[in-house]
Amino acid sequence: MKNRYDARPGDLIKGKWTGHVWQVEREIGRGANGIVYLVNGKVGQAALKFADSASVASETNALTALERVRGTSPGPFFIEADDTEKKGVIYPFYIMEYINGPMLHTFIKEKTDEWAIILLIWLLNFLEPLHKSGSVMGDLKPENFIVADRGQTVRAVDVGGITKFGRSVKEYTTLYDRAAWQAGTRKSEPSYDLFGATVLTIALVHKQLVQKALGDTGKLEDIVQSSPALQLIAPVLIKAFNNEYDSALSMKKELLLCFTKKNTMRQSRKQTISFSKKWMVFAGAFAAILTLFLLH
């Protein structure tokens, strides 16, 4: 990005159009097309993103479109767009709600691998209304999502990839991109996101293996089949690789079905274990009595 505005904690940023003043608390994100700061203004804490004029304009459009999706936005609420001037140079920026929480890959570090399945369900909850509004998320990387509301929902914090159906996806990350896996086009449609969400889920547990497999969904299938955490939802994941789902809802339904099956299987395994344990105790006691008897 040309002409980056580098702000330091404590700096004041004054909007040219609104006159609003934002005080920088700290930097919270940096990417190819912008820098995001945590700031304080009259409305309280907010996130401020500097980017070039065209990105600011198109991202604010994506944010307002997301808000139309339903009452609580699956992304950050858009507050306002503005420009600031420094040494004769104009820096466009926009202000959005600050969503606090861990990113997907940070969240799962402290949990068991099985949590990846829960995250996939939450991701599908996120995608469903977005798809209903006629757009895809596009860039499905774990850094773009935050587990919000004390671990109840997943919300997007970067909306640069949101693309209307029928167009070519605006932004993507190779590892989660359907075309890079040679599994379909880069056309914006629900199955594009469902493919990405699936790879994301597997990569949350087996990042290195997935990176090595890039381009070959056959290998991806092997990873799933031999994964203790994901094995039982394998049928759903494999169907998603093959673009067999056309809605997040139908994928979620089958996922939940698989998940409940898994629990019943576990229970039955537990029963066999306790059954054999009883036998072990019985056999041990018998052996002890026998030894005592022989010693006499």
């Binding site: 190819a32 004029s53 198109s58 459009n61 767009a81 996806v169 880069r186 056309k187 914006s188």
Partner: protein, 233 residues
Amino acid sequence: MNMGTIKQLLLLTDGCSNTGEDPAMIAAFARRRGITVNVIGIVEDSESDSGLGEIEAIAKAGGGESRIVQAASLSETVVNVTRQAMTGTIYNIINEELRGILNKETNVELLPPATRSEIAEKVEDISEEAALELLVLTDMSASMKMKLPAVKEALYDLSMTMQSRIGPSSFSLWTFPGKYSAAEERIGWTTHANKLAESFPQLLSGGITPTGPAIRQALSSFLEMDEYDEKSI
């Protein structure tokens, strides 16, 4: 607004030209002819920055985008540069229209944010639906050897995005140095984006890097269609 056809020349190289006229001058000529010149410099980890200034200069003169990247991130860069240059071209046209209407030095960036958002939506529509002519010009000099697989992959990746566009697109692939001239046409204008990667040559051409003459020659491919007289360059 009729946007006509967006014309782009994408130059992939790894360093400085070493023979022939100044590539930036040729790029400026292309720009006047309505062709945007984008340049991507492919470097290795340890490589020095020599020749990278030229990359920026060519893109600046050609009204396009420039990036300097490692081979590993070439794919996403090629797609992003092509996309950004397309919106850049549309913004330039809008700016000219604005100047025509308001009759003073102005551009979209000076308008209030809400108006800019409305324009951005239109620009996105146009860039998705407009016709695109994209000529890829690849440096095949000896130092590019290790980078060619990455170039091929990037072209495959680019074709995936282009095939998903709504508007019609045509593509052409040129390499330089050519056997008998500065540059050689490898694939003539085609609407099949996948041909770029499929027929990408794996053979290197030689030591010299005649970037300027190569751009000039590749341009003829655009201009032939406009009944262009090559002598006037």
